[in-house]
């Protein structure tokens, strides 16, 4: 009886977990997006998650979880499988870490639904750069919600450095992804 109950709970939990995932088996019509963030000006020093939102066409599950890695005094974010449509970096999540010990305080930086910062219109499969940005806290009043600014920066790594990095991490089972990044690498400096 208990086993069945636990199984049922796990099944429900598993259903919940799959709600926001996008299972991709064929990358031939998919695109790669990437960008870089300097997070020195905000709380937390470790970016553990981020998400891209699909604006058009409207779909039931418009969120794509991006990969985030420490890279050149900031964090690179990238995703290998966007379909055609309009997309924007929606949020990043931070926490403070010292070595492998991290605090249990989590910070979410929501880029908002309005504006073209870190956005892209994917018209055909390819590689798209969302930009490099500086995140900085803004002063707010007492009991007022925290705010932050997002400013484009040239301080970060070059597109070439970023593409070389995400090429190393590309899924080996889908050579078309590496091929696309490789093609883009020839066009950037």
């Amino acid at each position: 009886m208990y086993k069945k109950l636990i199984l049922l709970v796990l099944a429900v939990v598993a259903t919940g977990c799959t709600t926001y995932g996008h299972k991709i088996t064929d990358y031939s019509d998919r695109s790669i997006v990437y960008g870089w963030l300097d997070v020195d000006g905000v709380d937390g020093n470790y970016m553990y998650a981020g998400g891209i939102k699909q604006y058009t066409p409207a779909i039931k599950n418009p969120y794509y979880f991006v990969n985030t890695d420490k890279f050149k005094d900031g964090f690179i974010f990238y995703y290998y499988g966007l379909p055609k449509g309009s997309f924007k970096l929606d949020y990043v999540k931070m926490q403070s870490c010292l070595g492998f010990i991290c605090s249990n305080t989590f910070y979410t930086y929501d880029f908002g639904a309005q504006g073209s910062v870190a956005s892209v219109k994917v018209k055909k499969p390819g590689t798209y750069y969302l930009g490099s940005y500086l995140l900085a806290e803004e002063k707010t009043g007492w009991l007022e919600a925290g705010k932050f600014s997002v400013v484009p920066t040239k301080k970060g790594p070059s597109q070439k450095e970023m593409l070389e990095y995400i090429l190393k991490k590309a899924p080996s089972a889908h050579p078309i992804v590496a091929q696309r990044i490789d093609n883009s690498l020839r066009k950037v400096r």
Partner: protein, 200 residues
Amino acid sequence: MCKMYKLSLLCFLLALLQGCSAMRTMADAKTLKPEAGKLIVVGKFELDPPLIQPGDDAGHKPAFLGAGKYVNKAFFSATAKPVDRIDDSMRSSQWNNTLDATWGETYFKETDARKTYLNAGVFFVDVISLDQAWLPAGISFTPPANAKAIYIGTVRYTRDDFMNITKVQVIDEYREAKAEFEKSLGKTVRLQKVLLRKAN
């Protein structure tokens, strides 16, 4: 120590109150005749392109019970004096006479018979995130003396994919609005045309 607890409790209650100061909307006047000193305002808000377009797989489930009532609607801060700042810091008093309307539908709202500024608007982009986007306004209407009902026009907002508003137009659709108005309220109340103007 007790003082500390009291202070914390006060802060907590203040924070709660801050959260509770939700917008109060104008009364719907689709079938009611206006009270003395009140005015029926008729108009329409359009978003181009609409949030949900033909062919979209838009079977979204609301993020929480009741969230549906915020979706596909625009909310405008309507005050007797223009506000100084248009941003998240707008006080709750600037939202206590909110003009709320479903996109693309003619609204009939009851408000005080006085010059009114539509300072800014917001809309919720979807029912999952309930993320908000701002609508520029800075427009006003001045009802003529003794007017019982006025038509203020269709405000059409053109947007791009990322909810940037690229164009705002006030369009005169008086004839259609008048027909709807008379269908609901009869011909006993005269609908006067006073199109929205840039606030000054």
